[in-house]
Subunit: 266 residues, 4 copies
């Protein structure tokens, strides 16, 4: 059974429905619903229930990856879990994979990729803004996956330094400019994902993908809708996220024929 330690991140779920991601080392949690002395939680198991100084009940949970993502410190639009889970599968991410990520941002997608490549895998994350790097490092550290990420404070217009990587993710404004660099870095059969907020970007990326010879090109968008959880009045919530990004996927393949009519040529 997992116990709370003096520097654990915990998710406090109050009975009023509010959720708060806090570190035990901050010692005191104060809200208008009352005060929680965090130090008293040390050595207790996750999942316990308590009451604030004002008598409001709360649960102490181990934060999941979705809790981390929605609560991470950020200055950028983040890649949402709904998109991240789909990207993970479309890129066929496996333990041990080497992945190039262009545009680390706040580190939300990176944290998902880093979790699932495992200790043998590696994410090479390029980011040109130092303030984002600082932020993302903190977020990755918090989730215990920073050691799987090699952060590169470099300009990606010179190309990516890694070769034969399993997949590449591009999440920068002018993504279409780096499709060729992605092709050069990918192994044959390697997979590319490009995250595009606008239709104009998708159009330009599609042109580049064709030019560079990518195959299995797909464009997706997804709408996630939550429901109110009253079983007597089951219905969707009133408002929802209308758009995060269009997701473009493609696969790199050899451009020349090497097998013909059953006879190998190359």
């Amino acid at each position: 059974m997992s116990l709370i330690s003096p520097d654990s991140w915990v998710l406090l779920v109050l009975d009023d429905g509010s959720e708060h991601l806090v570190n035990i080392s901050s010692k005191l949690f104060v809200t208008h619903k009352g005060r929680i002395d965090l130090e008293t939680l040390v050595d207790k198991p996750f999942g316990i229930r308590g009451k604030t100084s004002k008598g409001v009940g709360y649960y102490v949970l181990e934060p999941g990856i979705v809790d981390h993502i929605f609560n991470l410190k950020r200055r950028t639009q983040i890649v949402y879990p709904k998109d991240a889970g789909f990207i993970l599968l479309m890129l066929d991410v496996k333990q041990g994979d080497k992945i190039v990520e262009a545009g680390l941002g706040s580190g939300a997608l990176c944290s998902v990729l880093a979790r699932y490549v495992g200790d043998e895998g590696r994410v090479y994350a390029y980011e040109r803004r130092e303030d984002f790097i600082k932020l993302a490092k903190d977020n990755l550290l918090r989730q215990g996956v920073l050691h799987r990420v090699e952060i590169k404070h470099k300009d990606i217009s010179d190309g990516f330094e890694e070769k034969d990587v399993d997949s590449v993710v591009i999440d920068v404004n002018d993504s279409y400019n780096y499709v060729g660099n992605a092709f050069n870095s990918l192994k044959n059969g390697g997979r590319l994902a490009v995250i595009c907020p606008t239709t104009n970007q998708v159009q330009k990326v599609l042109e580049e993908l064709e030019n560079k010879g990518f195959i299995k090109i797909e464009v997706w968008e997804n709408l996630f809708r939550a429901y109110k959880t009253n079983p007597q009045r089951l219905r969707p919530v009133d408002r929802m996220v209308a758009h995060t990004a269009y997701l473009v996927f493609a696969v790199k393949a050899f451009r020349k024929e090497s097998v013909e009519d059953g006879s190998c040529e190359g």
Copy 2:
């Protein structure tokens, strides 16, 4: 560089856009677009390009998890990758996790869970129909993750044998009947996902979740829409999947208060 072996599964992507998942050991691939002598592909790298006997170009790719899922042998409605990726993150699946799955079906979701729990993890998959078990075994073997799955040909109304598991997934018609069993099997802070095709099922599951004391209850559905990939005429496809399932999530927590006003009670 990954080479094709005599018993590799390969994804043939023909220039007419069709895709075929075949095993090299089947030796010959025949379609109206021509014949491919699969044995000539052995020891070639994935990603190569060839031509059929009728001169139609094709690529040979290493199938990804999404290719496997959409091409798996099945007799059941499968859990789609769009849902599977989201479930994975909502359940906070990590390497080493122990997961109970009630309703193995064709093994689509199981293959995703088994991939990401790693060799140290385990999926305990309950299924009462022997024909489904046979089918799912084949699908899991094909993806190289069968050794991470313990398949149980048992009636789940007696409860699950595993205790303190990290998460439980229920994907059977009368899922609401097993919410209590899931509660008993989960560790504190463990996460539950219930896959419900109908609103009636969601309503009953929500009632049970409240009764059993689950917290952080959420209901989601997602709509994935593909786009045509012509950059000069970017627009969604004409028709799309309208519904797969409603996804219900919840977390188990201690039901009694053990910490109050900062003072531990239990």
Copy 3:
């Protein structure tokens, strides 16, 4: 050319994007963007442009039905234009139609129906709350269609007084209780629409529709999504309405066979 009169309703569209539905008779419009002396607009044509006392540009438009609906005084959830336009067509509303509406509410849907039945048509609107009736009257008057609506402050559990009506719309919480009354009021071939916020209501309405012998039963929901209008960055808005209501439609037909094998029986 349509001129602004001393008691016209006008839609002021300010250059900051804000819109305000005001009556000229209120004489002065004051906002933090400046003051507009409404009397100076009298006898000007709709469509003119002016500046507020603080120099902010604005247009004066004749409000459309959608502007009226979104700006109407209300105490209830309104039927949105997206739903109203679809209901109108599904009910096959024509000039001269007689329509029963159970649940007038704020009068949003009623204003659409009343517009399109014309002066020869009639909407019989039942409402048990007097405060709603007062509100709706005001809204219908504003749109110039009050004379086409017969408002009835009555309990609909006794049935509707009208017979052989072209269509019936039910928009009350316990709508399933009035499906039989609707059947009795409709002409043969008449059409019914039931507006249901929750899935539970839809289920009960469907049961009743089957019981009463309705045919051509359909259930729809619609998602409307707006886009940002920057042509260089075309993309959906960030957030949207996730749900208004499920729309259930059905047609009344004779329940007994009156024509068989080409030979008339009844």
Copy 4:
């Protein structure tokens, strides 16, 4: 009560769920479910029930506008009722309106507009293909609204002949080329709708709308989803229409200021 006449259009709704729009004058309806002698239906009321020669029950309904649209003869992509109802309200269509429609196509949207402008209104429908005109005429005649439509076999690049119209709808491939012509035809405060299948078209139309000085520019798309109607298993259908068109709306206003600080300038 409305009776079936020898040249009525009727909607046959068979108990197997199939629907057929036929004219009584065609005398015999034959399907694999049996034969119906249509002449025996004459002088019967709409809504009756009969049996085919093979004993399959059917209803005879008066077709509604939605039935007509989905069953009309067509060679073009039609404007769906879901879009047509929304366009109707967004254009604020009223009895007596004058509307220019560029791109008559099969006449689906035209039939909706023509119905609701009434006998005092008029739709001026431009179409350059004679085969479409023939088809649309037939469809409009069938719905009894042809007399409200002035069909023009003309090239719209020369502009529209009508001035001061209440609204303009453009539904042609290169719609962006006619935004200026629409501006010239509209009255001040008049409303424009442009129907765009692709994002590229939307982008170009938005540029033109800005150039020409339109205001209140909006872009919408809508997703309609049907549900299966089994109350014990309420859930959406399996597949749905993913896309029909993006709908762009705008209002024409005076481009120069004529009222300032409350003082009229011209």
